[in-house]
């Protein structure tokens, strides 16, 4: 991309401001709900990462309760998490795309964009600042009142003060246009379902009408926190590989204007135009502090014997280490020129190492999860690359070939699920028990599986009877501990549930049945940007089916025991009703006065245990 195009660059804040529909801030109803989600999920994530039992308080208050919806609301979410260091607060809440969630591990939100979007939305609808209160040490709390400078993507601090407090945590409060009349039921559902899938948290919600919802901690164990891991070979594409190469600097940088500016700056020659040999002297002196790309450019310059002026008029075409030749295109002459490189020069070694990069096997073992030297060599054989092939030498076609081979090689080990944080069967079971108080409950956690290199784990629970009302099967869907409330119809979980022939499991009519499904993955395959329904990936569908199957079988055996118990009870009732009558009639028929002793026949009816 050497052509100079004249597009206007916009700041990320500007971009999201213009495209806020994408992030779920399309109207006051949806925006209020989305804002609640973003803040609550951030609070839970923060606690999870530090292994703190979350204590999250959500409150929504109308600025003027007498006005009709939509109107301004003050939304406050307070947690007991680790807080944010005061120097990061303005950037974290005052810029878009500033976050810590860029690793490959399971978390509720991605990138931490949502909270800033909510703040942005609040600001553009009410022009009121966001209030952030944070304490990392449990003693001093920093309080900020800020606005976002949308065009510059920078925070504008209006007020900053400190206060003494007794515990750590973060509190964020924004004012925004919302419609609680319409969003209320979704928000209540959201809080309810979030509590169900986060049984180790205490979540409270004070709604604008003065109603208080309290969900206290049910389990005393936190699920282990997920770890950040390297990508799996199945999960990458050409672009990812290219970036991985860039990351490690095993790439000849494009020598364009900005690169030249960078080189000048590092050499302390921003303003001066020096000739070639002086530049090289300067570079020698500063070599140790130069960044890698600059070193490479200098190395090339040593062979090209050019100054910056000349350098800006050519483009490097190829560095052929084998033939010790460097080829470039001269714009002025409009021709390709090859020059020889002196292999004795230390600049040559610099270039050679850079261009060739690591060997393929070393690259694979270092940069991917679950690939060892043996697997790497076997893979190289499979992909028809030499194991010692330098990845830096790969051209586009080879990269594509490598990527294809990575995805089609069958013998990589399954992705490492340690980056996943399932809730765990016992916690899910306790949560469901507390929430539904059913007659029958069983949960299952499937082993880790993967689709396209992204590991995932399915957890599922099924509850029947008890306090569950008979309104038919109710499915609660979760992904990475987030409840999915919208777009139920096209979801893969619903599909799997609906494809099940329930009569085979002795379930008929509108059963008092609840199914809780939890998909944990580093990347949940959502169908839409709204992140409310999960696509039917075959691997995912298969795991969901197997999970449901194992639960249904247990339910079925419960149902038949229940059936037996009911039959026994019915039988006992029938005996109790009819045997005394028979006794009465036969006594008179037989001409006796005293009734036969039939009591034990009624009481000795075996009662089938109703225990699960």
């Amino acid at each position: 991309m050497s052509s100079k195009e004249s597009f206007n660059q916009i700041s990320p804040s500007e971009f999201f401001y213009r495209n806020r529909d994408l992030a779920g801030f399309s109207n006051p109803t949806r925006s209020l709900y989305t804002a609640v989600r973003e803040f609550v999920e951030n609070a839970l994530d923060a606690c999870d990462q530090k292994g703190i039992f979350p204590d999250v308080h959500l409150s929504i208050k109308a600025v003027d309760p007498d006005k009709p919806d939509p109107k301004q609301y003050i939304l406050t979410v307070r947690d007991n998490g680790p807080g944010i260091e005061s120097k990061h607060v303005p950037l974290a809440f005052g810029t878009v795309l500033y976050g810590s969630k860029f690793g490959l591990k399971q978390a509720r939100g991605m990138f931490g964009l949502g909270a800033t979007m909510a703040i942005l939305y609040g600001q553009i609808t009410t022009n009121r600042p966001v209030t952030v209160k944070s304490s990392t040490d449990g003693k001093i709390q920093d309080q900020f009142e800020m606005l976002l400078d949308i065009q510059k993507n920078k925070p504008v601090i209006l007020k900053n003060q400190t206060k003494e407090v007794s515990k750590t945590g973060l509190s964020v409060s924004i004012c925004l246009d919302g419609d609680y009349a319409k969003a209320g039921s979704k928000i209540r559902d959201y809080v309810y379902q979030t509590s169900l899938i986060t049984p180790y948290a205490t979540i409270t919600f004070d709604d604008p009408k003065g109603e208080k919802f309290r969900y206290t901690r049910i389990v005393k164990n936190m699920p282990p926190a997920p770890t950040i891991i390297r990508p799996h070979p199945y999960g990458i594409d050409v672009e990812t590989i290219r970036r991985m190469l860039l990351d490690t600097h095993y790439q000849i940088p494009t020598v364009d204007d900005s690169m030249i500016t960078k080189v000048r700056k590092e050499l302390g020659l921003s303003k001066k135009n020096l000739n070639y040999s002086v530049i090289m002297q300067k570079a020698q002196k500063k070599w140790k502090v130069l960044t890698r790309p600059v070193r490479i450019v200098v190395a090339m310059m040593s062979f090209l014997k050019m100054d910056f002026e000349k350098l800006s008029k050519i483009t490097i075409e190829e560095i052929d280490i084998g033939n010790k030749k460097l080829t470039y295109w001269d714009f002025g002459e409009s021709q390709s020129i090859s020059i020889d490189m002196d292999p004795e020069s230390h600049y040559y070694k610099q270039l050679a190492n850079t261009v060739q990069g690591e060997t393929l096997t070393s690259f694979l073992t270092k940069r991917f999860q679950r690939v060892g030297p043996t697997t790497a060599s076997k893979f190289a054989e499979f992909a028809k690359f030499k194991p010692e092939h330098r990845i830096g030498n790969m051209n586009n076609q080879e990269l594509v070939k490598l990527t294809d081979a990575l995805q089609s090689y069958d013998d990589f080990m399954a992705p490492d699920p340690s980056c996943l944080a399932p809730l765990g069967a016992p916690a899910l079971e306790k949560g469901m028990q507390q929430f539904f108080e059913p007659d029958f409950l069983t949960v299952v956690q499937r082993g880790a599986s993967a689709y396209s290199g992204f590991p995932f784990i399915i957890e599922m629970g099924i509850a029947y009877g008890g306090k569950i009302s008979s309104h038919g099967t109710k499915v609660y869907r979760f992904a990475n501990r987030i409840p999915l409330l919208y777009d139920e119809g096209s979801d893969v979980v619903l599909k799997v549930v609906n494809d099940t022939d329930w009569s085979r499991y002795k379930i008929k009519g509108d059963p008092p049945l609840v199914i809780v499904s939890h998909i944990c993955s580093t990347r949940v395959p959502y169908k839409t940007v709204g992140k409310e329904n999960v696509a039917d990936r075959p691997e995912l569908e298969r795991e969901l089916k197997l999970a449901l199957l194992s639960l249904s079988r247990k339910l079925s055996s419960f149902m038949s025991k229940k059936g037996q118990a009911e039959a026994a009870k019915k039988r006992a009732n029938l005996y109790t009703k009819y045997i005394p009558l028979i006794a009465q009639f036969c006594t008179e028929l037989a001409g006796k006065t005293k009734q036969p002793n039939y009591k034990k026949m009624i009481t000795e009816v075996p009662v089938v245990e109703e225990k699960i």
Binding site: L589, A590, P596
Partner: protein, 366 residues
Amino acid sequence: MLKKKSEKKTSRDKQKTLVELLKKHGAQTYDDLNKGDFPKFSIPSRSVSNIVYDKKLRQYILGTNSAVRNSKNTSQLRSFSQLMWLAFFANRLTKEKKSSTLRDVYYSSQAFEIDFEDQSESDNIIVDLEAMLTRPREDFHVFPEERSSVFGDLTIEYTVPGYEGKKMNLSDHPDGYAIGPSLTSAELLETSAEVIIAIEKGGLFTRFIEEQVDKKFKSIIVDTGGQAPRSTRTLLKRLHDELSLPVVILTDGDVYGEHIAMVIKSGSANAAHLRELTVPDAKWVGVWATDIEKYKLPTIPMTESDIKRCHDLKKDPRYQDGIWKKELEVFLKIKRKAELEAFSKYGLTNITDKYLPQKLELAKSL
């Protein structure tokens, strides 16, 4: 010449044995319960596959299959209790000499927390008890609603409460006497009659009394009122067995009439579980299909269902020989039928003056 009753089973004996039978079943159940066993009954199966024609008895009987009704089985417990109740109820009726109808039984059950869903369920249980005891329900004082009548010189002695020992001659009332519970249970003392004439229709029964058929032909006239009710068939059998009187039957000249006669003679498949309801020696004397031609009777064409009935009966083992087979074939051939009243074309008394004497004479040779 007065005929005295023979020393056969009398009405009183019958009652006694029935009560004993009921007591036996009651005692069995009582003992089972006392031992902690669930009582059960064995009831002859009344399914079609178990109904066979017995050539010796000349009637349909039940085969050897039987079904056990076990009170332990919850799907049978209810009907077991109903059956037990019915036995208990029948015992009371018999002992207290009270009569009851099918409908009564249905309602009486409700006083004992035994509920029948409808009358057909209770009717079914009554048939179960009949089959179990091999006694008709009339024996345990459950009677149908329909009544038929009898007239003639026959002296009876009532056994029903309030009338015990009271005697009555069945020719004292010109409308005849209804064959009800009291008549069915009465002792048959003496008669001057030499033949029993069973006639299908009430109108002709009245004509026969007016024309003094009882005196002219020394007969007892019985109106069957169409298909003879079982109490009527019981009475016919008793008249035949206890007083040794031959029975002749006059019906309409159609396939239904022929079968009315057959049921009196050999019973019905529905009552295959019962004996003592048939008069195997009874003779059907008319109106035959061949009489239609012979007496030039006015006729009406047979309907589709008449013809179908003919074909059904052709498969019945009792219609495989004699006049039964012959007349059925003639009906099918001429496809016409004639009622008893058809004789009125030749005068109201034509049937008693001409037809009846000829048929009674013929009956002796049948």
